[in-house]
């Protein structure tokens, strides 16, 4: 019942109530895993479905992402005690010299909704920021690019990851309006994602490779 109310609250955007509902669910004995698996993840999946179907738009999507973060803030102490299983770790950033954040933020909210532990690397990311994310244990990396002028920087980041000897430890996805299947091939990325939904699907496929992590 608590999880159902929580799920409904996220779907309908009741941002003022979300943290109280999470605390109430915990007080009544729900585990953090229950809350993630039976409320937050299915709620974000439904939000993602509605967004893909143009039933809702970016303001609703961004509010859901913020609500997810508010819920995770309450759950963080329990999550960090290691009793919760996520689908895997994923890090994403917008490539160097590109400061667009919106596409990256959509991917983040949908990845969190799909049950991944997501690290936001921000915008204007130099190669080192991706390298450090891999060194912290992220095994799937997303690189976003909106400007065509920054496309060479994707290749440079992937080359830097190779030179650091980390390329075989990670799968690299690219997305954003400047990118394409051909850009993925040219830059040495593992895959191109035409939108956030495809990003989630491909991350799920790749995450199977790293289930032990």
């Amino acid at each position: 019942m608590d999880c159902e109310a929580l799920k409904e609250a996220v779907i309908s955007g009741k941002f003022r109530e979300i943290q109280a509902l999470v605390r109430a669910a915990l007080d009544r004995g729900a585990s953090a895993q229950d809350i993630l698996d039976n409320a937050l993840v299915p709620a974000m999946e439904e939000v993602g479905r509605r967004f893909s179907a143009s039933e809702i738009f970016l303001p609703e999507m961004m509010v859901s992402a913020k609500m997810m973060q508010m819920a995770l803030d309450v759950l963080k102490p329990i999550l960090s005690s290691g009793h919760v299983k996520t689908r895997g770790k994923f890090a994403i950033g917008t490539i160097k010299d590109d400061l667009h954040d919106i596409g990256k933020d959509i991917v983040i909210s949908m990845m969190q909704g799909a049950g991944f532990e997501v690290e936001d690397l921000g915008v204007d990311c130099p190669p080192e920021r991706f390298i450090e994310a891999i060194e912290r244990g992220n095994r799937i990396i997303g690189i976003s690019a909106i400007l065509t002028t920054v496309l060479p920087n994707i290749g440079k980041a992937i080359k830097a990851i190779e030179e650091k000897g980390l390329r075989d430890k990670v799968k690299i996805l690219i997305g954003g309006v400047a990118t394409s299947f051909h850009i993925a091939k040219e830059t040495g990325a593992d895959s191109y994602c035409k939108d956030a939904v495809e990003g989630v699907l491909k991350t799920k496929e790749f995450s199977v490779l790293y289930e032990d992590n």
Binding site: I56, D98, L99, V150, S180
Partner: protein, 348 residues
Amino acid sequence: MEKDIAPKNWKRINTALAFEEPDQVPFFLNVNGPYIAGFAKVELKEYYHSPEIMLNAQLALRQRFNGLTPVMPDLSIAPEPSALGAEIKWSADGTPWVIPFIKGEEDVERLEIPDVENAGYMTKSLHTYRYMFEKVGHEIPVVFGTTHSPWGVAALMRGTSDFLADVIMNPDLVRKLLRKTTDLSLLWLRTMEKSAPPGTFRRILIWDDLASFVSLKQFREFILPVYEEIYGSFPRCERWYHNDANATNILEGIAEAAVQCFHFGYEVDIGYAKDKIGKKVCLMGNVPPLTVLRNGTPEDVYRSVKDIIERASKRGGLIVAAGGYLDEGTPETNIEAMIEATEKYGKQ
């Protein structure tokens, strides 16, 4: 390419805008910094920062395409936010970006509408106009009348993700911020009107890709009144609008804003747009700028233009163009193919 192609094409554009069928479907070459600087082989950062380099690059392109491209101050997203105090970051490749700085309503209340002679890159844009006008204004029209939408400026100053969440979580902040950015746009356009020679300030172009990110209901609540106020303040001017994100969901709202010419993106189905708003709004687009014009072959361009004309040229109201600005590195042969295909398939 004919020597007098530009005046002939403008005549056709005016016919299309009047919803009459021109003898041939017109076209438009939408260009800005990245393409122009790339064409002229100058650094983008130098293009933005030197009025002389900007003017020479634009003149070289204009000469190459027989007067089809404009001469204009072109400082991308920098003028409006910097006039309100935003820091502009210039990336290594020369692209400007706004550092978000509005953290809450107190920051909005502190914003002051500036004196345009002391307003960051807005002042630079004004000085660039004066420079261009002095150098070539006696023989070439210098285009002045473009403003970044108050909605887009507000989003950049607040941070786009937070601003979009504010639409639901803090709508008062959105309204207050829009009031400031709308006042700035009005001041900016009035300054342009005063700067232009009498009788030549005839067209206002609002550009606003971020308006596509909201629902039609949210568009009507927050954005439509802003467009109405701006266009309504200059009743003698043509009302042009650029939004090359996927605007399918707000097409009706764009028509309600009394937009006369809508330059839209390749993701909008042109047949759908024609059915939805094509009797009220002249459509400009929508050849895919990256996959077809930049990366495709002339044959791909021909196919795309043929399809657009077949689906949207009846009863006028169509201008063939890239569905966005021409990307840096777009081959000249593909631009010529777009013009030739319009001639080949666009005869009425």
